[in-house]
């Protein structure tokens, strides 16, 4: 098409007419390039629009409605919002989510970094241990949770057996998932164990990107192993740690499946978290308007924390 345009201009028109013909064809080429690009993006974007963007926008609207999923939707104004403050389960879920995140993010990060540093050394069986640490992440959560429940079974699980042989009084034995004081600990331990392998791999990649001359310079400067870790490794891993923190935080705020498998939010509300409460309100109580309002709260919570993290990263 552009070929025929420019030949027409060259043969028929005087020299001055050539310029607009050329820009025309260039613009047409740009449009063509853009269309090709959009056609590649389109399938993915359509899926995103139908299954993600649409429902999100719908949930935003639904937060201000009453709807049980079968009868007509009615306008609720701020009813759902005021209800949050009277809902004891919501308040418990809110604080449980905060506690879960505040403990599991730094703990997972520390475990992942520690493992990465250990498994970055030339030790015997390194590849085996790397695989073993990564395995929980790829294993089926349902199967793993069943095994976890058996291992941490208060009456006959091996963990308490070991504690018993170490001399712990059966009266003081932790009840793990069945004990309201230990249930959150159990769920957090499970979360750390399940995802630390994945973040270990990310940290390993980060560690291998550090210039080894920096460690040699630190050797000559007189740094011991701990000082090298503190003054070379940690700062050099800054961008990796930022990525890991953001991903872990978002993941922790969204925690659901392990709670569903291990405690179902109990005993009482001791491990009830926001997403589990959303699930209860939406698909047990069929109060879709109220559950959307809780989802909205979660959305702003995640947004606020992420914005703060990005700001702090920029300052550094």
């Amino acid at each position: 098409m552009s070929m025929s345009n420019s030949t027409a201009a060259a043969s028929g028109a005087p020299a001055t007419a050539r310029r607009p013909a050329k820009t025309m064809s260039r613009r047409r080429r740009q449009v063509q390039n853009a269309l090709v690009a959009y056609s590649f993006i389109a399938p993915n974007f359509l899926g995103f629009a139908v299954f993600t963007l649409g429902p999100i926008l719908f949930a935003f609207v639904l937060a201000f409605m009453h709807w049980d999923g079968s009868n007509a939707i009615t306008f609720a104004g701020l009813d759902n919002f005021w209800r949050l403050f009277e809902d004891k389960a919501f308040i418990a879920a809110f604080w449980n989510t905060i506690i879960y995140t505040a403990v599991s993010v730094p703990a997972t990060l520390a475990c992942a970094l520690g493992l990465a540093v250990l498994l970055n050394q030339k030790i015997f069986g390194r590849d085996f241990f790397r695989t073993a640490m990564f395995f929980p992440y790829v294993a089926s959560l349902v199967a793993v949770a069943v095994v976890w429940n058996m291992i941490f079974n208060p009456e006959m699980g091996p963990v308490n057996m070991i504690l018993y042989t170490l001399g712990l009084d059966p009266k003081d034995m932790p009840g793990w998932a069945a004990d309201r004081h230990w249930a959150m600990v159990t769920v957090i331990l499970f979360g750390i164990w399940k995802s630390m392998g994945y973040y270990m791999v990310i940290y390993l990649a980060g560690l291998q990107g550090i210039n080894s001359e920096l460690y040699e310079a630190a050797d000559l400067d007189g740094a011991n192993s701990w000082q090298k870790f503190l003054y070379v490794t940690v700062p050099q891993l800054g961008p990796t740690t930022f990525f890991v923190t953001v991903m872990l935080t978002i993941q922790s705020f969204k925690v659901f499946d392990q709670i569903y498998m291990i405690t179902q939010g109990g005993p009482g509300t001791s491990t009830l978290v926001l997403v589990y409460h959303i699930y209860n309100e939406a698909f047990i109580s069929w109060d879709l308007g109220y559950s959307s309002m809780i989802a909205l709260v979660l959305f702003f919570l995640v947004l606020a924390v992420t914005v703060v993290q990005f700001r702090r990263q920029k300052e550094d």
């Binding site: 001359e213 040699e216 310079a217 050797d219 000559l220 400067d221 000082q227 070379v232 700062p235 800054g238």
Partner: protein
């Protein structure tokens, strides 16, 4: 301060030996340069002195103490790395102060020493910047500063100028030489650049394949190379090497090359030459000793005519490098820019044989030294 001795130093990786029985005595406050092609073991030797590589065999003595098992930080040394190895997240000030902080120096001492070093290196205005905001030359200065603040007895420099452009390299060469005089410390410097070695060193160590070839002052290496490798490695353009035979001529000797006769100067040791009469050997002629006939008042008494064909003329401004062929061999001559020669011309030049080199063809060792 610190003299250093390397006694039968070896470095092996499995079955592979990369440094063989290095014996070297380095005097206190000496500026010594290890030079050689890539893979000759010069950097490995330096890293063994630094304590960054384990010594497989042999002894390393610094300031009278055997330090084979002493960690880097206790060897009273500092090192400047090829890629500078500055801590990217620290400012220039912190980079320089870090070693002192770890050694628990007081804040005042650190401040004074960093400021002092920064002043000498002219980087005071950069102290608050991070390395990524600096040019290559500035980073190099910071790396030197980081080494200086600790007043080490020995400075180790691993190809410190190889990442700089040619002009900056020239100025930094002079600055490092001045710094050495000022700091009064022992400098061990690794480079593959023979110009750096020639211009800066008190003594040069020429290495090849993990072996020391020759240790001497720059001028002695240039004038009296012990083998063909050293003769070819030191000096640019390279020394011309020609196959030749020796014959008696009256009281003296002459080297013959493709019908050309080069009488050997009278000061050559006859006892060393006599066994080679009638045998094939290699003669070495530096390009500056192959030129047009000079004016009679400055001409050497050891001139021999030499004709060749011009292949290419490379004007350098102050002189012209003529690439020539003679007897099927390629040679380079250094002539004045006023000497007119076109490609394909036969030209009549002369060889000044005063500093001619003679090498055994089999062993490649010098016959004269």
């Amino acid at each position: 301060m610190a003299s250093i001795s390397l006694k039968k130093l070896n470095k092996t990786y499995g079955a592979l030996t990369v440094v063989h029985d290095i014996d070297l005595e380095i005097a206190d406050k000496e500026f010594i340069i290890l030079v050689g092609p890539s893979g000759c073991g010069k950097s490995t030797t330096l890293r063994m002195i630094a304590g960054l590589e384990e010594i497989s065999n042999g002894e390393l003595v610094i300031g009278g103490d055997l330090v084979n098992e002493v960690p880097s930080k206790d060897r009273d040394i500092a090192m400047v790395f090829q890629n500078y190895a500055l801590y990217p997240h620290m400012t220039v000030y912190k980079n320089m102060a870090f070693g002192l902080q770890l050694r628990k120096a007081s804040r005042e001492v650190i401040h004074r020493k960093v400021q002092e070093a920064a002043k000498i290196l002219d980087i005071t205005h950069l102290l608050n910047r991070k390395p990524k905001a600096l040019s290559g030359g500035q980073r190099q200065r910071v790396a030197l500063g980081r080494a200086m603040v600790r007043n080490p007895a020995v400075f180790l420099l691993d190809e410190p100028l190889s990442n700089l452009d040619a002009k900056l390299r020239g100025t930094m060469r002079a600055e490092i030489t001045k710094l050495h005089k000022r700091l009064d410390a022992t400098f061990i410097y690794v480079t593959h650049d023979q110009i750096e070695a020639m211009t800066m060193a008190d003594r040069i160590v020429v290495m090849k394949d993990g072996h020391i070839q020759q240790v001497d002052t720059p001028q002695n290496l240039y004038d009296r190379p012990v083998n063909m490798f050293v003769a070819g490695f030191i000096g640019a353009p390279q020394m011309n090497m020609l196959p030749s035979t020796i014959e008696r001529r009256g009281d003296g000797y002459a080297a013959l090359f493709d019908g050309r006769e080069l009488p050997l100067p009278a000061h050559f040791d006859k006892n060393r030459i006599e066994p080679y009469v009638g045998r094939e050997l290699v003669i070495g002629i530096r390009p500056e000793n192959l030129h047009e006939l000079p004016p009679a008042d400055i001409a050497s008494e050891n001139l021999a005519p030499f004709d060749a064909v011009v292949e290419l003329a490379e004007p350098m401004g102050s002189e012209v490098h003529l690439n020539l062929t003679a007897g099927g061999r390629n040679l380079i001559a250094r002539v004045s820019p006023r000497f007119k020669a076109k490609i394909g011309d036969g030209v009549k030049l002369v060889v000044d044989t005063t500093n001619m080199q003679l090498f055994d063809r089999e062993t490649e060792r010098s016959i004269l030294y």
